[in-house]
């Protein structure tokens, strides 16, 4: 009977709209129990008195075994795995009119200690292991990552890569590079993330998964916050039509990050508020799915850790092919310089360190440049076709000598020649006395032209925080309990990357956790 009294008193407070989250969840839980689960758990719609009474759909327009939200790496991977494991009725919803989310415009770099071709070993690029990958990831995120999640990613990365190659027909380039924050040559290149998206989508569609574009989730239905209360379905909008989809086995949120959600970005990291910052992401990278999940009790973490990509096109902020080279090239000897022709950081530094070293130069310091030579292009996963296209578009500048290159990009020739000569000497000596960069044998001195320059500047790129999940990709509520039948994978989640995601860890994160979610969800009872 105590339960009923609670309902009465809390019900009143509900109307006065002065509830904190915890008491609200309890109140709604109790209300649901008494009213026979007729009401939906609901906190976020404006006008919360009515919102609390928003009824669950009386009838469902459709029933789906597994519903996946988002068609990027994580969503396609989840759909591919769920269907591979026997799920028959898997639907992927994509709110944008095109598939692939931000993944399809991602740079295609994939960290994995090994691959089926064993490129690192074949190219004599040193040692690596799952543990080293995990350690680098933890260190690169200042130990804010949840170690158990990092372990899942590092352990699953190689198998997931080989799966996309073998089952999905993904083609990777015959090299591995060493990128900022990584202590080994483990970053695989494919040119663009579309290679993996298409591979995963191919597997999913071959197994019968259905993709629906232009279909936006507007609400997640859950009766109450009881730990045994599962997610029931979602409300979706397609054109002007609203409908309700019932979920049998589970809902997998794979809706990506919120770099383009200016409000959410600024709410958690005021430094990045406003629309003045450039952003590498597609327009759909907004945080509404995080909000909807929070509204049914999901916990979030580390929402304030938002990454700037240090090498975006300074004009538009996009991460085009030339913008990938500064990230891919450090292990092969590329050099970053200021407009004055001076180095300003170790080229093997983490993305956050490189970004803030640039920002510290002040607005007058924009842009900085990456300098590389022709010999390095294939080694760091580039192609001649790409460089020719980059030159034609004016994104890459080429010259036969360093002095001439400096003139072409308008920086002092003497300074740039001196910087490159010194760097060549550091490579020969195996020591970088200026910035303490770890020197390796794979780094090529810039003695033979032609030489190239590409301009770069930070742009908002990746949101490390998001929904709290466990090692099974199950979403955890604010009390620490699993929300039954709710899963999340990829950038919508938090806790894998800590303060700073190491470049090329995003795809393994998305694909591995997508597989985990897809594999676990089919074991649920319908």
């Amino acid at each position: 009977m105590k339960e009923k009294e609670k309902v009465g008193s809390d019900g009143k407070r509900q109307a006065t709209n002065q509830l904190n989250r915890r008491s609200f969840l309890k109140a709604t839980a109790a209300l649901g129990a008494v009213a026979g689960s007729g009401f939906a758990l609901n906190m976020a719609t404006p006008g919360s008195a009515e919102a609390a009474k928003r009824p669950l759909p009386k009838k469902w327009d459709e029933t789906v075994e597994v519903l996946v939200i988002g068609s990027g790496f994580a969503g396609c991977s989840a759909a591919a795995q769920a269907t591979s494991n026997g799920a028959k009725n898997v639907v992927v919803l994509e709110k944008m009119p095109t598939y692939g989310g931000n993944s399809i415009i991602n740079g295609g770099v994939y960290a994995s200690w090994d691959d089926k071709f064993h490129y690192r070993e074949k190219l004599n690029l040193g040692n690596d292991s799952v543990n080293l990958h995990a350690e680098d990831t933890l260190k690169g995120g200042d130990y804010f990552s949840i170690p158990a999640l990092v372990k899942v990613m590092a352990e699953g990365a190689t198998d997931a890569l080989n799966w996309m190659i073998d089952e999905g027909g993904a083609v990777i380039r015959p090299t591995v590079v060493r990128a900022g924050g990584h202590s080994a040559y483990r970053t695989h290149a494919a040119g663009i993330g579309k290679v993996y998206v298409d591979a995963l989508k191919r597997i999913a569609e071959k197994n019968g998964a259905k993709f629906r574009l232009g279909t936006e989730v507007k609400w997640i239905w859950r009766a109450d916050a009881d730990p045994k209360s599962p997610v029931l379905g979602v409300e979706v909008k397609q054109g002007r039509k609203i409908s309700n989809i019932k979920i049998q086995k589970g809902l997998i949120l794979a809706s990506g990050g919120f770099s383009r959600d200016i409000k959410m970005r600024g709410d958690h990291y005021p430094y990045l508020s406003g629309s003045d910052w450039n952003c590498t992401n597609h327009k759909g990278a907004t945080g509404e799915m995080i909000r909807y999940a929070q509204a049914i009790g999901a916990d979030t973490l580390q929402m304030n850790f938002i990454q700037l990509y240090p090498y975006a096109d300074p004009e538009t902020g996009i991460l085009d092919t030339p913008a990938l080279y500064p990230f891919n090239g450090p292990g092969n000897g590329i050099v970053y310089v200021t407009k004055q022709g001076k180095r300003f950081i170790s080229e093997l530094a983490r993305r956050d360190h490189v970004s803030f070293a640039q920002i510290a130069l002040g607005p007058q310091g924009k842009p900085t440049y990456t300098i590389f030579s022709d010999e390095m292009i294939e080694k760091f996963g580039g192609t001649r076709e790409e460089t020719e296209a980059g030159i034609k578009k004016g994104r890459l500048v080429r010259a036969d000598s360093i002095a001439e290159l400096a003139k072409k990009i308008g920086i002092p020739s003497d300074a740039l020649v001196d910087t490159i000569n010194k760097h060549n000497q550091y490579l020969a000596a195996g020591k970088d006395p200026e910035f303490n960069k770890p020197i390796t044998k794979a780094m090529t001195p810039m003695t033979k032209g032609p030489f190239y320059a590409v301009a770069q500047w930070p742009a908002v790129h990746h949101t490390m925080g998001g929904l709290r999940i466990n090692e099974k990709a199950q979403v955890i509520d604010i009390f620490g309990e699993v929300i039954p039948k709710l899963y999340a994978a990829g950038e919508v989640t938090g806790g894998v990357h800590g303060t700073n995601r190491l470049g090329s860890n995003a795809i393994p994160d998305c694909v591995v956790f997508g597989r985990v979610a897809g594999g676990t969800v089919v074991k649920e009872k319908a």
Binding site: T98, Y99, G100, I104, I105, K194, Q238, K241, K393
Partner: protein
């Protein structure tokens, strides 16, 4: 019983005819007012009718037009892509882009102004659709 079934079918057919007539009536009324039911805003305007894209009967609300329909006149895709290949930057071809197979209707709209989707990210591209937003 048989007669009853016949009556049912008759009533149903009557309803269908009435409904169709109603739809037609709407279109006629709109035409009288100098517009179609859903005004055309592309270069198709005045040249092709509803059925050319939507087939017979009035389209459902929010119904879209699939690529094969567009390509009956504008295709095949490979040739369309060849025609739209920019001379200066061949890889900035909206009909053969890095977004893969996408719906024509992502950019080309009939009942609202067309808009080049590429420009959402590539702000500095010079691209436009005849009769579209940027034209």
């Amino acid at each position: 019983m048989k007669r009853f079934r016949l009556i049912l079918i008759f009533v149903f057919l009557l309803a269908v005819v009435a409904y169709m007539g109603f739809g037609e009536g709407l279109i006629q009324a709109a035409k009288a007012a100098g517009q179609t039911a859903a005004p055309q805003q592309s270069q198709h305007a005045g040249k092709i009718d509803c059925a050319s894209c939507h087939g017979k009967g009035s389209p459902e609300p929010d119904s879209t037009v699939e690529n094969p329909r567009c390509l009956e006149c504008h295709g095949p895709m490979e040739e369309l892509a060849k025609r739209s290949e920019p001379a200066d930057f061949p890889d900035r071809n909206p009909h053969k882009s890095h977004l893969g197979d996408i719906a024509c209707t992502v950019c080309h709209h009939e009942h609202s102004p067309s808009a080049v989707y590429c420009l959402d990210c590539h702000r500095n591209f010079k691209m436009k659709i005849p009769g579209g937003k940027e034209d």
